[in-house]
């Protein structure tokens, strides 16, 4: 049952993207339906978590690493899930009316559902790693939602800031959770919750605490990381209501409450969490008073309320934890409704600036009344839910938990913060809904559509009902949640509205009357004042953040680049070669390297002759590469052939076949490319080569000789040592019995290490596509555009002789070889098939067969020309590639159907008519995928380069044709 909470939102998110953007209503209904299903599923699960039992779901993922997809729902997770899904449904309904038809609405709801899935993932995760993954997902989706209107610079900046801060926190949290897993020995939440003493007494406790707190405090916008939240208000209001007040910012306090039983109660916890919480509580409330933007006021108020929850959790007493959980729920209800009200005001009047808004009561009396009730709940007025949890907070604040200064000041700070809360709540109501009618609003305000207001009505009703009858409404659910967090330590608590005339009541009264007084004192300052609180305005978090960002990513990066960077490739390559040499030499020298004895005997003269040729080719190629490119290419091929013969000699038939075929393709490829390089004619030998050039050449020569000498030494040393026991014998022993083939190399490629091969062919296809894409944009240099000299001479010959038309010479050129090449096509195809079919048992296989087949195709291109081939033969390299990749992947996935791990192979022999016994392992299907992909990729690259030659003439033809049409 539990996976539905993850699968439904994420699946819905994927589907929502494909909704047509001109029907915002349909997408909204769809998203609403998904959210409703999740809510109903949550509601239906309540009986299962009611009695303190825990629902679990587990899917093994990488059990060796302690990773599993384990979901876990207890009372606390249930409460959060209910909150996420219920407010989700309401916000979808609200967003249905809030979003404009011009906005890309499917994207909004897709992200919205993705967020819901991530957030449900955070609260339901039963594994710490999984939790970290979902935690990051919420940050990313939040980033995308804040930047939803990405044409707006504020939205982009706010999104980036939120991601940077919460992403950094997420990273720290991840490390913290890994450390917890190390201390506990398991990443499972159940195991972690059962080992509180082990964690608290571990020497790593303080680092763990700091890392986890960094994650939680950034997410919940606690001081000093609070400043991202007000900037996140650039998001559409439904996002602010859902992510940035009701759910995502609660993830931090959720985690603190989740880990409260195992981490709270120590001195370090008390100080760190308490200081952050108290500071945030009072500063947030203070800043909120001075905001001119409605959403800004609500954002700072959210920060302050989150501070209140954090402070409660810091105290370490079970009663305070109860109050914290209670306040999480209460804050979500009244704050979400206030955000929605602010959105309505913005939507219907065109501004959120409190200096311009006034007297709106007469235009939207119902919305005004709802906002007033919600605001009163925020201020903590009796008979509303905010009052109850605030009262519990005051009661806890005056208790003594630990004897220190922080504990002593808590009640006073709490009262002052309560006073500020009353002031800003009053300001929200008074300045917007009362006073003279507004004069310069962009729109004439009016009540919103009926159903846009419905979510607010529902939430405000909840505030009232919970505020008046707490024990009968929220009571049982809260109790289930509290019991699941605190277990045996669940204290006795009462949710009654009236506790008698006690100290918390006096604090409430002081806060109420003080707050009202303060508002009327500051009223005229606020009405004219500028955005932000006095003094603190100058010390804004955003500026510090941006300065740090600029220093890090611009100034420092620039200076490092200036000092270490160069725009020239050669020095970098030189450095690279030098470092590689040093990195190879150092361990050898440090480990006491001994020269192996030089053995001259047993040299086969033929082999020596072979390599004499090879060495000559290599050196020649190096010398000719600058001025005689064709010669260098031929010599390169010579070196390749020597390599190939070496493979034959030294028992590697598979390598020899592949090397030979690849050599052919490489040569053709480079030949095709040569045409586009500038002519470079060797000047007569100059006497006065500058000293600098001479020196550079000498230095490079020395470096190259050093590298070559080192490689010789290393290769000789290793090759003359007897081989130690390797995993090679494992493959040799099992190739036939388990892989069903006698060609061990092929069995390794397609069976034992099939997954690696899948990666290799994926790389190959990426390279081919890159080549294809690069050549699509290729514009040859002007001097390479005209027809090559040879073609010009041939055309001149045709023009100079009667009875010949242009192009005859080209058609006749190499006529006999080209006929032979044409007839070779079926032979090549046969060879490829042969190589492919024998591959599992004898040298050959998918790689070799694919390259061989592509040679067949390229021979046709060479003999007939690009146009001739393409008029007769449609080759679809991209299709070959996709078929190859799909077949290879599907073969791997196919083994899942039979209950085996990815790419498990099955082997059998089949009798085919005429051909005889053919190995029919499932690996041969995989090998077919390899074949198809190698063929497609090779042909794609070759054809793409070959096509360049006909592109320029085509452009001429097109121009001529349009010219003709214009003339007609």
């Amino acid at each position: 049952m539990l996976p539905i909470f993850i699968l439904a939102p994420f699946g819905g998110s994927l589907l929502a993207i494909f909704f047509p953007s001109d029907q915002p209503g349909a997408t909204a209904w769809f998203a609403g339906a998904i959210a409703l299903v999740c809510f109903l599923a949550t509601a239906g699960l309540y009986p299962f978590v009611d009695a303190g039992s825990v629902l679990r779901y587990e899917l093994e993922w990488a059990p060796q690493l302690g990773l599993s997809v384990s979901l876990r729902m207890d009372g606390f997770a249930w409460l959060f899930s209910a909150l996420i899904t219920a407010i989700g449904v309401l916000v979808v309904l609200y967003a249905r009316y809030y979003m404009n038809a011009e906005d890309p609405v499917p994207r909004f709801f897709a992200l919205f559902l993705a967020f819901m899935g991530s957030m449900l993932g955070v609260v339901l995760s039963g594994n710490l790693i999984l939790l970290a993954v979902f935690w990051e997902l919420t940050s990313i989706v939040s980033f995308l939602l804040i930047g939803y209107w990405h044409h707006n610079a504020h939205a982009r900046d706010g999104a980036r800031m939120a991601l940077t801060i919460t992403g950094m926190g997420g990273l720290a949290l991840f490390v913290g959770l890994l450390l917890i897993g190390r201390v506990v020995g398991s990443y499972e939440l159940d195991a972690v919750l059962a080992s509180g003493n082990a964690i608290r007494n571990d020497p790593l406790y303080v680092p763990i605490l700091i890392l986890v707190l960094f994650g939680a405090l950034t997410k919940s916008a606690q001081f000093p990381f609070h400043f991202w939240l007000p900037h996140a208000m650039a998001a559409p209001t439904p996002v602010s209501a859902y992510l940035h007040s009701a759910t995502m910012v609660k993830a931090g306090v959720f985690l603190l409450a989740r880990l409260w039983p195992v981490m709270a109660g120590t001195e370090a916890w008390f100080w760190l969490v308490g200081l952050a919480g108290l500071t945030t509580l009072v500063l947030g409330a203070y800043f909120a008073i001075f905001q001119q933007d409605l959403k800004g006021l609500l954002a700072y108020s959210t920060i302050s309320h989150l501070g209140l929850i954090t402070t409660l959790l810091s105290l370490g007493s079970p009663l305070a934890a109860v109050a914290a959980i209670f306040h999480i729920v209460n804050h979500a209800t009244f704050k979400a409704s206030l955000f929605m009200a602010a959105g309505i005001i913005d939507h219907e009047s065109g501004t959120r600036d409190m200096r311009r808004l006034s007297g709106l009561f007469r235009y939207m009396p119902i919305t005004a009344t709802l906002a007033m009730v919600a605001s009163a709940a925020m201020a903590g007025v009796p008979l509303l839910n905010g009052f109850l949890s605030k009262e519990m907070f005051f009661a806890e604040a005056i208790e003594t938990h630990l004897v220190n200064a922080l504990d002593t000041v808590t009640p006073y700070v709490a009262t002052i913060a309560g006073m500020f809360a009353v002031t800003y709540s009053l300001r929200f109501i008074h300045s917007v809904f009362y006073g003279a009618p507004p004069s310069d609003l962009p729109k004439k305000p009016h009540e919103p559509p009926r159903w846009m207001r419905a979510p607010i009505e529902f939430l405000v009703l909840a505030c009232l009902v919970v505020g008046i009858l707490p024990g009968r409404t929220i009571g049982p659910f809260l109790h289930t949640a509290v019991t699941s967090v605190l277990g045996d330590r669940t204290p006795y608590y009462s949710l009654a509205v009236w506790h008698g005339f006690n100290v918390p009541m006096i604090m409430s009264l002081v806060a109420l009357s003080g707050g009202i007084g303060l508002y009327f004192l500051m009223r005229s300052y606020l009405a004219t004042g500028i955005e932000g609180p006095p003094v603190f305005r100058l010390l804004e978090g955003q500026r510090i953040f941006e300065r740090v960002l600029v220093t890090l990513s611009w100034k420092w990066a620039r200076s490092i680049e200036q000092r270490l960077g160069t725009r020239r490739l050669q020095p970098q390559m030189r450095l690279l070669v030098f470092l590689a040499l040093a990195a190879g030499a150092l361990p050898l020298l440090a480990g006491g390297f001994e020269m192996p004895p030089l053995v001259i005997r047993g040299i086969d003269p033929a082999f020596a002759l072979l390599w004499a040729i090879g060495i000559a080719c290599a050196v020649g190629s190096a010398l000719q590469a600058k001025f005689h490119r064709l010669a260098a290419l031929v010599l390169l091929g010579g070196a390749g052939l020597v390599t190939c013969l070496t493979f034959v000699w030294l028992s590697a038939p598979d390598l020899a076949v592949t090397q030979l075929l690849v050599e052919i393709v490489t040569t053709v490829l480079i030949l095709l490319g040569l045409r586009w390089l500038p002519k470079r004619i060797k000047e007569p030998e100059r006497e006065d080569i500058p000293m600098k050039t001479r020196f550079r050449r000498l230095r490079d020569f020395l470096l190259a000789t050093l590298a070559g000498g080192a490689m010789t030494l290393l290769a000789y040393t290793v090759m003359t040592q007897p081989a130690s026991e390797t995993i090679a014998s494992y493959f040799l022993e099992r190739a036939y019995s388990e892989g069903g083939g006698t060609n061990v190399v092929n069995v390794i490629l397609v069976d034992f290490r099939g997954f690696d091969t899948l990666g290799e062919i994926a790389v190959l296809s990426i390279v081919a596509l890159t080549v294809f894409a690069l050549l699509l944009r290729f514009r040859p240099q002007a001097d390479s555009l005209e027809a090559p000299e040879q073609q010009r001479l041939q055309n001149a010959f045709d023009a100079g002789h009667p009875g010949r038309t242009a192009g005859d010479s080209i058609a006749e050129y190499l006529h006999i070889p080209s006929v032979i090449m044409r007839w070779m096509f079926p032979v090549t195809a046969m060879l490829a098939a042969y190589l492919f079919l024998r591959g599992h048992d004898l040298p050959g296989g998918g790689f070799a067969a694919g390259v061989a087949m592509s040679i067949g195709f390229i021979l046709q291109y060479m003999s007939g020309g690009t146009r001739w081939v393409e008029e007769r033969l449609r080759i679809h390299p991209l299709r070959w590639m996709s078929i190859g990749l799909l077949v290879a992947a599907a073969t791997g996935i196919g083994s899942w159907l039979f209950g085996y791990p990815f790419l498990t192979s099955h082997s059998q022999y089949a009798m085919l008519p005429i051909i005889g016994e053919v190995p029919l392992a499932s690996a041969i299907l995989f090998d077919f995928g390899v074949f198809s992909l190698v063929l497609g990729a090779t042909v794609l690259m070759l054809i793409a380069i070959a096509h360049q030659s006909i592109r320029a003439p085509r452009a001429h033809v097109r121009m001529a044709r349009t010219g003709k049409e214009a003339a007609q």
């Binding site: 090879g614 190096a622 600058k626 390169l636 190259a704 090679a728 040799l732 290799e760 390279v767």
Partner: protein
Amino acid sequence: MELILSAGIGTLTASGVYLLLRPRTYQVVIGLSLLSYAVNLFIFGMGRLRVNAPPILEPGGVGDLARHTDPLAQALVLTAIVIGFAMTALFLVVLLASRGFTGTDHVDGREQRGD
């Protein structure tokens, strides 16, 4: 045998490295190809050199290192050959594109004095 092959590997490396440090893109492409021969042979050599012992089993048989050479090094090199081809193709096309965009075949995309 070992001596000759390691000398060959060394020469291929030296030629490759020298070309790698040259200023023209074509030289670098040829150099990389030479270098990849050297590296392939080097990896292949790590399985030790054996004559007449290909890793092809008798049908139904079980192989061992006494009769067969190391198949693992060969499997590594086989994919390396194909990937090496892909790399050459990619660099060749980058070379062509760079020449088309910058008008020069210098590795920096602009001519330097004294080369």
